[in-house]
Symmetry: C2
Subunit: 331 residues, 2 copies
């Protein structure tokens, strides 16, 4: 297996990518191709300790910036994201990983691979830490405006992701709303509800709220990309605020500092639950290839975790499972 | 001043209301009228310690249930919410407080008081705990579907609330979106953005995300009632999950228990920040009266805090300020 890694995606590029590639190649025993400026990557790679026999370099003279829009991105015809995806398209890699701009990743992925046959809109799929595990939320940002039939497909793709990647046999699928009762919701939710009730492929549990999502009462939560993105960022911000305040208050006196030191083992579960580098990367579901987008703030650990996720997707035939499920839903 | 309190609103009604009325009447030195079954309230009141000379009872033989919809609610012609609002309408009270069903409160408030002249849609206004203070978010649930002009009025009403109640001189007003740049957002956000730029009455700071909201970089956040409600409930659920896990982990060993005890003073700020009973109640802004809706799970402390907020609104002429601002916005 070969994973193609955009070396120029993260905010601190290409260091986290170069180091992450070496660690992941050895941990996973797979080939990794770093895509970026050949000379720069070669000299950086030299200074990274460890066995580098499975880490390769593909040259891409240009790199996208986080602030690039479509116009600037298209002008960079040799950017690392585009060239990396083309390697996958040519069969020289099994999956593509980037910590770059999500919008640009979706743009180049659609251009390079197109959609899985039958998919109306690909979406960005998020994995949220919840009580006793994880839940899949989609769309978290690709489609700010959605029609009910988009959400129906998100529910099927989310179910396949939960089954294949999180190993949940019969994922419970909920529709995010402002109230649990049928009839609650905005127009989109009220039109989508009866459609989801009739999707035989999924185990639809009805409308859900934050309580059910974070309480672990649902495995897949379907929503439009605007709401999903706002929920993702708001809940991340609240978690950060709580942790920051707790840290500050623990440092505020000798007594609380000592208490904090003693209580340290208790913070481990919370830390790993909230650590963005443990979550891995968000797949672009519905694209006819395996494309994973990590956080722009990815560090080495986050890059390794994104590569691990991509490998798992290849191992578990995520793309094939998605193709089968979409075909089945149309028949 | 007289505050009319629905005695039959909270999940544990009427105990929190009866106890809260006595505490608030003495703390605030104002008159409070409990609305509910006279005999029941009289006998309960007898058993509450303290001076009860400022607590009065108005009889309402019926009570709404949390599960009541419009049809059931309308059939209860003598319900405590309706009768309490009518007392305010008749000039026998200055503000109305309930911990009952928000949808029903909005329904009866519109019927009893109507809207402030010029208001297109009243909304439910939430006060969120954020870094170094509080932020106003509206709409948090009254209007699942919104048009841009609704959001323009929410921005003006939110500004007045922040000025009058939170004493913020020039509140920064943001539009909740899935990205900070202009042009980000769903159709509603993209249509609302240029309108907000042209509202002279407000200090519009552009699109905001969870980071700005919870980071304390904005004082008023405008959104549709679907998104606002989902954000409110999701962030509450995440905060609860974090606190629950922290508590469980602190109790998991002798060492962490000791650490938790030593560190206890450090948890105070977090506890008071996240305590729903400290937040008070959500005002129905745009209704031509002062109506506050507390959480259904309100305890005595939460009822006191809701009454305190209602008093503050009367003292600070919130309703008059709203009327002036709406009139000004139309001229």
């Amino acid at each position: 297996m070969t994973i193609i890694l955009d070396a120029m995606g993260s905010d601190d590029r290409p260091d986290p990518e170069v180091q992450g590639a070496v660690i992941a190649a050895n941990e996973l025993n797979e080939e990794i191709v770093l895509v970026g400026n050949k000379n720069e990557l070669e000299s950086l790679l030299k200074n990274v300790p460890g066995d580098k026999s499975r880490v390769h370099i593909a040259h891409a003279p240009e790199a996208l910036d986080m602030s690039d829009h479509i116009v600037e991105a298209r002008a960079k015809k040799q950017n690392s994201m585009k060239i990396g995806m083309e390697l996958v398209k040519e069969g020289r890699g099994d999956a593509f990983v980037t910590a770059g701009n999500t919008g640009m990743a979706m743009y180049f992925a659609k251009k390079t691979f197109g959609d899985i046959e039958g998919v109306i809109r690909p979406c960005l799929c998020g994995v949220f830490p919840v009580r006793n595990g994880k839940a899949v939320v989609l769309d978290i940002g690709a489609n700010a405006e959605c029609r009910p039939e988009f959400l129906v497909q998100f529910s099927i793709m989310g179910k396949i992701y939960a089954q294949t990647m999180l190993k949940i046999a019969a994922p419970r699928v909920g529709l995010l709303s402002n109230g649990e009762e049928e009839g609650k919701g905005n127009n989109l939710v009220r039109e989508t509800f009866p459609l989801l009730e009739n999707v035989e492929q999924i185990n639809f549990v009805g409308n859900v709220e934050g309580k059910e999502l974070f309480g672990g009462d649902v495995d897949v939560v379907v929503t439009d990309g605007f709401t999903g993105n706002v929920v993702l960022k708001s809940t991340e911000a609240v978690a950060k605020l709580i942790v920051d305040i707790l840290k500050e208050e623990l440092m505020s006196s000798f007594r609380t500092k000592m208490g904090g030191l003693l209580a340290k083992p208790a913070f481990g579960k919370l830390r790993s639950m909230l650590d963005p580098s443990e979550v891995g990367a968000a797949p672009l579901l519905g694209i006819d290839a395996l494309v994973f987008v990590g956080h722009g703030r990815s560090d080495t650990k986050a890059i390794v975790s994104a590569i691990r996720e991509a490998k798992q997707a290849v191992d578990n035939h995520l793309l094939e499972e998605l193709r089968i499920a979409i075909t089945e839903s149309l028949s």
